[in-house]
Structure formats: C-alpha cells, structure tokens
Amino acid sequence: MKAAIELTNLRKEFGAKVAVNDVSFNVGEGECYGLIGPNGAGKTTTFSMMCGFLFPSSGTIRILGADPFEPGALKGKVGVLPQDAVLPASWPVGSLLMYLAKLSGLPNPEKEAREVLDRVLLPETWAVPAGAMSHGMAKRIAMAQALMGNPPVVFLDEPTAGLDPKIAAQVRQVIRDLKGNATVVVSSHNLQELEELCDSTAILDKGRLVKAGTMSEMTGQLAEFRVQIARGPVPMDEVKALSGCRTASLEQNNTVLVVHFDGQAVQPEDIISRTVGLLVQRQVLILGVSRGKRLEEKVLQLT
C-alpha cells in the first residue's frame, strides 16, 4: 500500500523536555489510523507536527509527498480537527465555514458549507454565532470545517471527547463514512472507538513509539480467541491437540478458555468452529466467543 503519511525519526523538544522521541511510522493511503497513548505520551504533539502547527526539532514528515512546513503545502490536501482550538466566537457558523472554504480555494463556498453542516447534522446552526454553540456542537462544527472539500487526508484529534453517547455515535459514523475515501488519522483516548474504527494504529508512551501495526496484529485477532465457559469441565488435552493450536489455558477462575493458534497455518473460523464443536460435544456450556484481546488490554500491557 502506498504511504500517504510518512514520519521518520521525528523528535520534538520543548526546552529540556523531550515530548516526542525518534518516532517513525507510515500511514497507507485510504487507511484509518489511530494514535494511542496515555496522557503525555506525545500524541497531540505528533499530531500537531503532522498538521504543520509545530515544527519538529529533528526528523521528517511527508504528507502526500509534501513537506507540511512548506508554505501552502497542505492547502486543499488536508482537513484538520485540532484539539482545543476555539472557533472565532463572533462569526455566524455559515459565514465562518464559507470564509474557511474560500481560504481553501473551494469553488462553491456556500454549497460546501451547507453540505458539510448537513453531514454533521447541524444545518440549523447556519446563522448562529460560533461562540453560542455548546461544546458538542462546536466540536461538530470544527469537524465540519475539516471535512469541507473532501480533502484526501483528514486529521482528527479527540473527535468524540466530551460528546454525549448519541452525538459520539453520529461522529463515529461520519468517520466510518470517510473510510476508503480519505486517509484518516484519529488521536483518541477512547480505545474501544479506535478498535472499532481503525485499520492500523501506533501506540505511544513517554514520547516513544511502543508499537505500530494493523489492528489485527495489535489485538491478536489472527492468533488468539476466547471462549466464555458457563458450566462443564473443559477437555484441555483435547483442545491442545487440535490442529493449529499452539497453547490453551483457562483464566478467570476457569471461566474463560484462551486459545492461541498459528494464524499462518489455520484460518480463525476453522479452529474456532472445531474448538466450539469439541466443547459442545463434551457437554460444556458456553456463553460466547471473541477473537483476539481487547485493544485496551494490549495498550495497558505495553504502556
């Protein structure tokens, strides 16, 4: 896959503090990519450097082959939802979006502005001053400006932070709709959301890249599954003897069977079906089956 975003040995210092240290990863074209890490991990700093807001102390960034610090290099190529950036309070939303559309060089600013307000489900805010918006509405307006003109690269910093569940679900749907049409980078603390949305992810901790890879690799979806046991003795020897099984163990007071398998040698659906079949045959009652581990577990394990 061709890389839309390339970060090489990126480093950022604020005085004596090193906020980002030797971070390198690529984001493929059309991918939805998550930036994960605890507070102070360097997510927003990395994000801000990708958007051209902060200059790296060393290292390079390429966005669609261009240097984001070259004046005007990102024009029309990138949409950004920055974290904590305040919308100019005195502007009515419609006028603000039209102004930003004009600055982006879009041919029909009013049409673009109205369309994008519809996408974030806020068409009624056209004449309302941006300063009069609630937090959730302001976030969606900020999201709207990032989507105007359908830029090929979209950066979203904490897109659902502080939103109520219903609005957050709507925002997630907007991001889902972007998949395949744009390269999307999402920085968030909401790991469940990232697990659901992203194809790949990078985990940062204390300014360093801890791990980067596809979501399947991160969560072990191609190498691990869990069976929740309700009742009955699990025939461990028979499970371990199944073709493709590497290890099997019981966890959480024998209520969860964890099976690691050789993802290269056997298809997940094949070994999962055979394992469940064996358990049913031996009259073990099961409550559910899940592939891999939660992203949250992986992040907690790595950071």
Partner: protein, 310 residues
C-alpha cells in the same frame, strides 16, 4: 496570484469581523471624543483671539492686513520655538488655522496608541486560543500576516480620515479666513499624511502581535516600543549632530553637539513632521522612510511568525 487571493480573502474576512466586533466603533467614538475635547479647548482659545482681533479692527486700532500678517508672524515665532526651524515648513504650518494645527499634532501624537489599541491582538488573539490553526492549514502564514495588516491599515485609514474631516470642518467653522478650497486641499493633504504616517505604527502593531501568544503581553510590548520610538526621537533631537550648523538665536543653537543625536534616525517618529513639508523631496523622502520602517517591522513579524509553533 494565489497569495494575493489569500491576502484578499483574509482582508475581507477581517474587515467584516472587525466591523461586527464593535471594538472599531468604540475606538472611533473614543478618538472622536478626544478630538472633540481638543477642538473645544483650542477652538475656544482661537475664538477668543479672533474676537479680540475683530474688536481691535472695529475700533480702527489696526488695519486688517497688518493684523493678519502679525498673526502669522506670531504663529511662526511660536512654531519655530516649539516645533521646527525649517523656514518653508514654518511658512506652510503658519497657513493652517491654529486649531487645526494643534489638534492634528495631537492626533499624530496619540494616533500610534490608537493603532496599538485597535490591532494589538490581530495575530496573538488567534495564537492564544489556537484558532489560527484553522487558517494555517489553508493559507500561508505570510498571507495571514499581510491580510490582517491590510485590514488594520484599511480600518485605521478610514478612522483617521474621518477624524481629519471633522478637524477640518471645525477649523473652517471657527476661521472665516480659511477658504473652502484651501480647507478641501488641506483635508486631502492631512488625510494622506495620516495614512502614510500610520503605516509604520500599524506594522509595529503586527510585529508585537506576532511575537507572543498572549494578547495582553502584545499590547504592553506595543506600548513599550512606542515609548522607545518616542524617546529615541526626543533624545536624538535634544542635541545637535556633530558638525551640524545652527542659526544664531534659534532653538537649535542652544543645543550641544553630541553623537547621541544620531539616535533620532533610528526612530520613525523623527520623520513624522516632514510628511507635512511643502517641498516634494522632503515629504516624499519622509513617506519612503515611513514605508521603509513599515516593511522592516513587517519583515520582522514575518520572521517571527514563519518559524514559530502555533
């Protein structure tokens, strides 16, 4: 071409925002109140003097031409003591009604402060709350700077021209001998002088706003730099340049010679008065100096903004 389009869009947006924001209107009212107060005080003195001259004329103590000539001579004496030794500039200034001259000088003195109050947060007001991030992914940083500078220049020019019109109209009302044609010409000249004069201070305001992310700090910095600009011109003019000639009996002849005099050339304030000079070479060179300072300050602002984290 793309840059000009970006600058134009920022300029239009900023003008609209400023007019909706209300600060410009409040500042205009304040400045007009200030001018009104100055006009009232100087105008009443002027009115009293004119009344006395009229009284003397009616009693036949002096003839009209002699009174007018004497008034001009006394005005030139005052001006040569407090403002300039330059003969041709004195001739020109003496033709201005006293009320117009005094209030115009006050406007030149306080104009830079007015400009600072109007534009101190043009850039810093966007960096602090990070709203500039919505702009920098769309336009060049230089376009933001120049677009905002152009908007401030447009607004300041409009306000200063309006103030000049008020001054000229009041001066005409108070002085019967100030002919309509002369008043119109004077209005054009003084407006042009104020617009050119304002350029360097507008650019200084842009510079102060570009070097910090806190609006309050940029205002304080701007005011401090204005004092530095005034102080450099003042101190530089307290002495004569080494080897500089001064006619006997003039104010300049009383000043000692010292190299500190060169300090005046580092201050744009020093060249403000020359914008009123009747000789084209003098007012054109003063205009170029103002433009040069404006470009210098804008260049520094661009350097500050180009490489800073936002």
């Amino acid at each position: 071409m793309n840059d000009i389009h970006e600058i134009k869009e920022i300029w239009q947006g900023e003008i609209g925002r400023a007019l909706k924001g209300g600060r410009v209107v409040v500042l205009l009212i304040l400045f007009l109140l200030f001018i009104g107060l100055a006009l009232t005080i100087v105008g009443s003195i002027n009115y009293g003097l004119n009344g006395k001259i009229d009284e003397a004329l009616q009693q036949g103590q002096v003839d009209k031409a002699a009174a007018a000539a004497q008034a001009i001579e006394s005005r030139k004496k005052v001006l040569s003591t407090f403002f300039t030794d330059d003969e041709s500039l004195l001739e020109f200034l003496a033709t201005m009604p006293l009320v117009l001259f005094v209030v115009f000088k006050l406007t030149m003195m306080f104009g830079p402060l007015f400009i600072a109050l109007m534009g101190f947060d043009q850039i810093s007001g966007e960096i602090g709350p990070k709203s500039i991030r919505y702009l920098v992914v769309r336009v060049k940083r230089s376009s933001i700077l120049l677009g905002k500078f152009a908007a401030q220049a447009t607004l300041a020019s409009g306000l200063l021209i309006l103030c000049t019109i008020v001054m000229v109209v009041v001066a005409k009302v108070l002085n019967d001998d100030f002919a309509v044609g002369a008043a119109v010409l004077m209005g054009f000249k003084l407006s042009a002088v104020l617009v050119v004069f304002a350029l360097a201070y507008l650019a200084l305001s842009s510079l102060c706003s570009s070097v910090t992310r806190q609006s309050g700090v940029s205002l304080v910095l701007n005011v401090i730099l204005l004092f530095v600009v005034w102080a450099m011109a003042l101190i530089g003019n307290l002495v004569r340049l080494p080897g500089e000639e001064a006619a006997f009996g003039t104010l300049a002849s009383l000043k000692p010679e010292h190299w500190v005099g060169y300090m005046r050339f580092g201050s744009v304030w020093n060249f403000g008065q020359d914008l009123l000079h009747p000789e084209p070479a003098r007012f054109l060179s003063a205009g170029m100096v103002h433009l040069g300072f404006a470009l210098f300050f804008l260049g520094l602002a661009h350097l500050a903004l180009r490489k800073r984290d936002l």
